[in-house]
Point group: none
Chain length 409, copies 2
Amino acid sequence: MGNIVNTNAAYLAKRCADLGAVCYFQEVVGDNPKRLKETVKLALSRADAVLLTGGLGPTQDDLTKQTMAEIFGRKLCRDEVTCEALKAYFKKRGIACTENNFRQADIPEGAEILPNNNGTAPGIHIFDEAKHVFLMPGPPNEMKPMFEESVAPKLSELSGGVIYSEMVKVCGIPESTAETMISDILENQSNPTIAPYAKLGEVHFRVSAKASDKEHAMALTEPVVKELKKRFGAAVYTTCEKEQLEDAVIALCKEHGYQITTAESCTGGLISARLVNVSGASTCFGRSFVTYANEAKVEELGVSEETLRKFGAVSEETAREMALGAQKHGKVEVAVAVTGIAGPTGGTPEKPVGLVYVACAVKERVWVRRYWFGGDRTKNRENTTTVALAMARNCILEYDGITYHQEML
Amino acid sequence: MGNIVNTNAAYLAKRCADLGAVCYFQEVVGDNPKRLKETVKLALSRADAVLLTGGLGPTQDDLTKQTMAEIFGRKLCRDEVTCEALKAYFKKRGIACTENNFRQADIPEGAEILPNNNGTAPGIHIFDEAKHVFLMPGPPNEMKPMFEESVAPKLSELSGGVIYSEMVKVCGIPESTAETMISDILENQSNPTIAPYAKLGEVHFRVSAKASDKEHAMALTEPVVKELKKRFGAAVYTTCEKEQLEDAVIALCKEHGYQITTAESCTGGLISARLVNVSGASTCFGRSFVTYANEAKVEELGVSEETLRKFGAVSEETAREMALGAQKHGKVEVAVAVTGIAGPTGGTPEKPVGLVYVACAVKERVWVRRYWFGGDRTKNRENTTTVALAMARNCILEYDGITYHQEML
């Protein structure tokens, strides 16, 4: 019906590519036994392995297992271990476990159970007539870990080679500039390949090499990663796939023994929440200030009423006072403040929707930058969050005298 | 390769449903003539109309038109009007128009050209052997307007009917319980159909009816939506597709003239940020408190040091004092507070990772509930955010004497 965007397909295609498994077809089909059967049979006729997501839940229209059992002529048997796990799961949460829920413990005879550590429906691996079929739950937060833990190792084994990749993550340089800076490398790539991914306010370069084993693949990527780091300098905040900008900011604060806080208007807590994404953030993050109303900016941060009256809430002056106020009231070394017009209403010709001021105080120094994002409310707030984190990192480094190529976005 | 999420498919599926055209299959295939031909032939064998996106560009791997021409046994002819439009387009932008670009003016003989007002590649409509094929460009900003202007009117004509749907969104009731509550309706559905979607702490039921026109389709959905609302009572927070839980909370606060605030530990600002998602939140939201460290809980919210010492930061007592402190310091009627162990570290046998206390103060009353989520850091924090919003809604209603079936999640 189109109310869910299929992000699972993109995730699996990408991971298959990483693992050296070529994915030629993706198909989406509704919860209808006849069409599902037709689709799976077609997939089995043209591939060595078929990955399915969704339809493993406890309700009547979750019919993937039933259909697979029919295709392979197997019975569904209730798995006692899974039943016990389900009972424990529901008991722990104080919820009644209905008969429906036990349907999730029905497994095609002879199939392997793939544990689900993030939900109730286990995954299933069927190996039959030289074909591998993997059934995984639909919710991405259950599917992804199951894929990584149970499916990826098998696919890698099947594809007969490994792909090793590192991600060079660059912030503060627009995509086109970044690509120009390494155009000679991009033009002559073969193994490793270099794929640029433009992200909001960031560019990521995935450097992937294929070889017979991980060690050889790593040896191929290493010199390229080194060269990219040399070209981009301090704008590279990580080469680790899993690390986000907030990890880099927290790591930098830890390294310096700094405490950090935020003062947020239009983002409403998004920057703060990003910092708290980092496990162990507590060593350098203790509190932050969400001051959406003018009154709150005055009372919580000590922004002067005159500044608000004279320059408005969305101004360089207010952003500066917010950062300084948060630094003082939060008793910290580093404070990031944002104030902007997220939209869709509230814009004027002088201060249009998408106008944002970001201020950053590091000890006795303060920086303020003006940005304009021409997106909708959600996009403007997300953009603001990213540039605020990038700016915190940038200002902490600049305070130490480390500068790098950085453009306004 | 998985570096692009297929949002076109979701858009087209949704719009087809709106127009009464049933979409049973979606297929994704790479730029390979043999596989593309196989895929299109299969699609033609099972549908009255086939929508294709992408592959209309000027480069060698844009081979959709060539492949379609082969399938239908037609020649590609260069269209003069399109050539002139291309020349004008490039001239206006001061870019040289290369020979490659004119490939975009090649049209299968006898096909209808669909104008592209947002890019250079025109769309194409082929009608052959009682089947309709629509070729549209891949970039969403070109595809969507072309679909609306040229394809949608034709599909609507072909389908001879419309589908109208409403979304009954329920919070606070687990999926299996919710389905049991309406199992008699689910078992006897035909037109309208009822499709359940389990979300984090929520269940959504899409009620869709097909009829000759929108009015008749609405008349079919109405009694079913009414019955669901009766069964679930106040647990239904909206029947509008676009409305989220935070919209319902803000709407309820506006209705009551309440101001709302949050006091957040493990969520780090996520609840606050959800409230600020709502455009116009400023009428009832002015500030919130992110108090991650104990010191901040004491200083910003007035939580007593004794409470923290005696019961710990993650306790019923601390949650209650956080809510009351936020209510007092924020000068508001409604305050939601959360404190929990997000993980992956910090858990103990008595207080495991995933344990969360949520407190809600409405005027002089306070509720505190204990939840346990067995997920990772991200999931625990997202779950906490959802239950906190659901609880705010629930407590505001309960204060008015409106109660409904609600289970701990």
